[in-house]
Symmetry: C2
Subunit: 379 residues, 2 copies
């Protein structure tokens, strides 16, 4: 770890609203636009850490909610912090735990002080306040910490959306105060809330910008709403975020979501899709998604993509991958998860190069046309 590196963000190129740059952290550089694979419990499902790196990931996301419950933030701190614990010496972003509390925990009670919930593991009652969320993330030692917020599923009652947004703003202030003058290289991001209500989103973005966070996330999207609602919200919010800070769209998304959001000024993404879909037999490829469970692959000797940078996409036939999925062999999930991680990182690399060259629109058009042409028919 290089303690001399401080958190920072530099923009190298822009192409319309799209931006290409890099984030510096104490654990290294993050090229943006960046996709962060998700290691929920301190591991990506079915993937070795060196494969995550070989795929091209500069940064990964870990879930504070899961890690605080098991093995515990204090334990990870005693073991030298999360980077050492999981043996990933590169940048790590942790969420605040708020999102998983809302989606996984039972008996949650949200009030001004924070959220009280029962652990989904053992039913223990746990309290999570803004100050506590910051302390836990400090114990984990993540490079980028997130404020505690309240995230609602959409559609939601408008009054509820407003209440949750304002509560999240007050929690943002408390998180900022608790974070204080951060240790060298660590950063804290605020999270824009406000559901699908434009005026609330703008108010949230402006208020957070006034608090001078190190970066700004858009939360509460990709929670069930149509893509056009998500994109319209991004278009409303981004102009109100400080341009000199990274913009992070939480929990997104499909390759198409990423192309569309980058074009609207988003710099960072995280999503479980590469590994989750890989486990279920779905490969992301230049030819669009390919479902390896489909019987049409049973006799197909072709690799997924002979020109891929990913060994797993080149070295195994579709017939073998189909067999592994049908036989429920772990190796099928493992290979397809790696294929998908490479695909996502190669997509990000293509996006960065396209922005630098000023041709993101053409690049995105070509990518989408190739998806639309679909898989090449078997011989």
């Amino acid at each position: 770890m290089d303690q001399e590196l401080h958190f920072g963000f530099r923009l190298f190129s822009t192409d319309r609203a799209a931006r290409q740059g890099e984030i510096t952290t104490a654990h290294g550089i993050v090229r943006t636009p960046a996709f962060m694979p998700v290691g929920t419990q301190g591991a990506l499902k079915g993937v070795h850490w060196q494969e995550v790196r070989e795929a091209g990931a500069d940064i990964v996301l870990a879930n504070t909610y899961h890690l605080m419950l098991r093995p515990g933030a204090e334990r990870i701190a005693e073991l030298g912090g999360l980077h050492r614990f999981i043996n990933w010496p590169h940048p790590i972003l942790t969420d605040s735990g708020g999102f998983q509390v809302m989606s996984l925990a039972d008996l949650r009670k949200v009030d001004e002080s924070g959220v009280t919930f029962r652990s989904h593991l053992d039913g223990a009652v746990v309290e999570l306040s803004p100050e506590c969320a910051i302390e836990i993330q400090a114990l984990l030692g993540s490079d980028i910490a997130m404020q505690l917020d309240e995230c609602l599923a959409l559609p939601a009652d408008p009054a509820e959306v407003e209440r949750a947004m304002r509560l999240s703003l007050r929690w943002a202030e408390r998180c900022k105060r608790a974070f204080g003058s951060a240790p060298a290289g660590r950063a804290l991001f605020g999270i824009v809330q406000g559901g699908d209500r434009r005026e609330l989103r703008v108010e949230s973005a402006r208020a957070l910008a006034g608090m001078e966070f190190d970066g700004y996330a858009i939360g509460g999207l990709a929670v069930g709403e149509p893509q056009d609602v998500m994109l319209a919200t991004i278009e409303e919010v981004v102009p109100h975020l400080p341009a000199e800070r990274p913009h992070y769209l939480m929990g997104v998304g499909t390759p198409d979501d990423i192309l569309a959001a980058v074009a609207r000024g988003i710099d960072m993404f995280d999503c479980v899709l590469p590994t989750r879909n890989g486990r279920h037999g779905l490969a992301f490829t230049r030819f669009g998604p390919i479902n390896l469970k489909n019987a049409r692959h049973a006799n197909d000797a072709r690799p997924l993509d002979a020109d891929s940078r990913c060994p797993a996409a080149r070295d195994y036939s579709r017939a073998y991958l189909h067999h592994l999925m049908k036989a429920n062999e772990m190796l099928g999930a493992m290979l397809l998860s790696v294929v998908n991680l490479f695909y996502y990182q190669d997509l990000m690399q293509g996006i960065r190069a396209a922005i630098a060259a000023g041709n993101l629109v053409d690049f995105s058009g070509m990518i989408r046309e190739a998806w639309a042409r679909g898989d090449i028919a078997p011989l």
Copy 2:
């Protein structure tokens, strides 16, 4: 694939009854004594093929029973054979399918012609004759094929043991005839049966030796009997096997079983223990087996073995491995399976070196003493 390599076996050193040498096949060299990891359905559970190779495996075992039912031997042949299908260009041994028929299939009926059973996958009625077992293994293209035999669980009725042994001998002859003059580099092994009855084991070994197989396996052991019964049987059988051919103990075993069997003249082993135990949280180490699920590892920052050749044994703390097992993360099973594959292959390498140096007794003693001393206590 080097078609000029023919199957062969050379002995380089002996140390009392122990032997060190190498098998040549069309797909490369197998150093003996050899441990063959098991890729039941054409994959090791939780392990990438390059990890199997990096661990030091020269040869793997694949199960004919599973592959004939799914994806089917004809399909694998159409796809270029098993080596290409699984992308393992090195030697492969296939069993005959008989053992799994006995242990997995329903409604099996054994008669002179062969065995009829219902697939455990879809209930389809399948017939497996000696000739059919040879044909299927030829379609798979394995380097070493096994005769069809009837394997009983022990203890078994003595008359049943004798009947099954004699039937297996008649099937051995039919397999030999069906195998004919094998394609260059392919080999067929006979299987000694006879349960725990010495005179039947000797009769079986002598009769098979008279048929001039390329190698000789001892089957029907490690099926529930005590270790001393297994070792006594090996001691009875080995002197009756041709010394100039490899001796293979099927389905064995623990590291201790392997040390004991090598000392009695066994050259080849296969077992699912490295991956099965790894999936269940058990690591084989120089300090004996370590159960990572045990709570005593929760705060242990030490790696499994800082001096191991295996990255997974060096790069992750016991605390992290414990966490992965408790959290049911695939990565825990993956890392411990690799640790165990390295351990087994390093044990075989140590055994080979010890035989060459003429000090297998001392080597085995040192290994067992280190196991007995156990794990080093946490600081």
